[in-house]
């Protein structure tokens, strides 16, 4: 499982052999405008911890939305390469 719910936050684990590190960082920057995002790397894996600034936020949905955004970014960057 690459999504883990913790108290008030969600921890995502992304494989850099599948998702580009550049896309992960671009998405993290985008999400950081409304949420608190922390990015850590360990070998092939990048750990993204997202914390909500407000209570009652649907962290699971936000986490999965992060994956979709990274996918969209890596797809669009294919055309610009």
């Amino acid at each position: 499982m690459n999504l883990k719910l913790e108290k008030g936050s969600v921890v995502l684990t992304l494989n850099t052999r599948i998702y580009k590190a550049r896309s992960i960082l671009a998405t993290a920057e985008l999400f950081s405008q409304n949420l608190m995002v922390d990015v850590n790397a360990c070998g092939d894996r990048v750990e993204v911890r997202i914390r909500s600034k407000t209570k009652n936020a649907e962290m699971e949905k936000i986490g999965y939305e992060f994956f979709n955004y990274v996918l969209a970014d890596s797809q669009s960057s294919l055309f610009s390469e």
């Binding site: 690459n2 999504l3 052999r17 599948i18 998702y19 999965y64 994956f67 969209a72």
Partner: protein, 147 residues
């Protein structure tokens, strides 16, 4: 041997998501990315695994939807992009040749360019030839009508 109801070919259906196992020798990562991108408006997509061996795709619908159908739709998208990917790989050379030809069509070295359209013809003395007498200043003729 009892058949597992949740297993449909290469995908497994669980409570709220469908997991697909993809052989990356058949479907490369670019193809999987393109197919997954097509699903992101309807589902949350996560990809994991080893891009050289096997990829695990998890589709989690945003709204209630038939998971089995979604799995098959994803398989179709994979096939669609695999064909596109292979075709574009095969046509790469000819595509590049066509683009190169299109860019070079109107290009010629500057020394060969001859623009004679707007330049006036000159005589040996350096004066401009004017066989039609166009360069003479125009003056209105005096009217011959007597009043």
């Amino acid at each position: 041997m009892a058949k597992n109801k949740n297993l449909h070919g290469n995908f497994k259906i669980s409570k709220d998501c469908v997991s697909l196992s993809i052989n990356s020798k058949i479907y490369p990562l670019q193809v999987v990315h393109a197919a997954a991108y097509m699903m992101i408006d309807r589902a949350y997509v996560t990809i994991d695994g080893n891009p050289e061996e096997e990829l695990i795709i998890e589709l989690r619908p945003k709204e209630k939807q038939d998971l089995r159908k979604m799995g098959y739709e994803f398989s179709n998208e994979l096939l669609n992009y695999a064909v596109y990917y292979n075709q574009s790989k095969m046509n790469k050379g000819i595509r590049e040749a066509i683009i190169q030809r299109a860019f070079l069509t109107n290009m010629s070295p500057p020394a060969q360019v001859k623009d004679t359209c707007n330049k006036p013809e000159k005589s040996k003395g350096g004066q401009v030839k004017d066989p039609l007498g166009i360069s003479k200043p125009w003056k209105p003729r005096k009217s011959k009508v007597k009043r």
